[in-house]
């Protein structure tokens, strides 16, 4: 019982420790925070992003394969440079790439549980360089 109690405690603290490290992680172009109402919220960007290139969420912690349940993509915070042709995509755990949603404005889509966990990316097709950013939500 004694050993079991200690094991449970260590396991729990280790779990919490991982969570805290993710919470504080400073990413190369992605960062995350935890919110009690909606789980982990992450964002990433490329400024400016070349046309046609997939810009994957890339956290400095190296934990990029995540159980994303919702992703969205935006052009710029001030919406002054609309990128009508852009896509939000996802590479599932099996390596298959999916174009989740493409179009203008603030595009957003959910991700089926059968594709989780996986990698999220944003991509623009303006023919030049544009500022784009992505946001994602995932469970623990």
């Amino acid at each position: 019982m004694n050993k079991l109690g200690i094991a449970c405690l260590l396991l729990t603290l280790a779990f919490l420790g991982v969570g805290l490290r993710q919470d504080k992680a400073e990413a190369s172009n992605g960062s995350c925070n935890f919110y009690s109402g909606s789980g982990w919220f992450c964002k990433w960007q490329d400024n400016p992003a070349p046309t046609g290139v997939r810009i994957y969420f890339d956290a400095a912690s190296g934990t990029n394969k995540r159980p994303w349940y919702w992703l969205d993509m935006h052009e710029d915070y001030d919406y002054q440079s609309p990128v009508q042709k852009k896509c939000l995509g996802y590479k599932d755990f099996g390596g298959e790439i999916h174009s989740l949603i493409c179009g203008g404005g603030s595009i957003g889509s959910n991700i089926p549980s059968s594709w989780r966990p996986g990698w999220a990316y944003i991509r623009q097709f303006s023919g030049g360089y544009r500022n784009i950013f992505g946001r994602g939500w995932h469970t623990s």
Partner: protein, 232 residues
Amino acid sequence: MAHLMKPINRRGDRIRIAVASSILALLCLGGAAFAVSQGGTDNPVPVSEDAGLAVDKSPSAEEVRKIGRFSMLEEPTQESLAELSKTERDLIVYGLKQTDGKQPGALSSVGRVQTTLGSSVLVFTSSDKICFYSTKSSGQNLGTCVPMDSTISHGAYVTGENFGSGDFYLLGLVPDDVEAVDTGREKASDIQLYGNIYEAVVGPEDLNVVGRSESGEAVIKQSIPIGMYAGK
């Protein structure tokens, strides 16, 4: 000495077990609360459980409705909002946060259509943005918020992989002067119009969507490079 140590160890055991149990219980409660906050569904929309839905009763909201370019939009009422599913309500709350990138907007008008593909499509406005989201029977939820002005003149669309198939799901929004939508191909009956919304499942090839007036004039033209979007 040994018999003196025993009670201390037991007390230590009890403390450790109590601490571990408390932490585990907190984790379980947290997980349960999170699951509840996600509506207990597999396809949650990222909004907080306590997020309110603000309705815009200002004169400017009335002005937005008076524009009259999207006749499926109506003033939101308690009755019409009560008819929405939790996912639809969450999509509105989520969409209102996309309208200016800073403060959540307030709902000035809303409309909904059911399509023959089994989707429920929401259209709503806040300030100078118009949003449209589809909740599909397959569990796929997707949509966008776009500027009102450009949508009146050019329409708007989103497209994405149709979950579970190699085809693409296409969802578009057009103003009232569009009476029919076609692709300019010989068989033009593949796109259905429901009020201001059109919807189709199409192959992964480029598409030119034309919105036509009652007289057949092309009033909206959209070049949709699905082939490029589908490129692996």
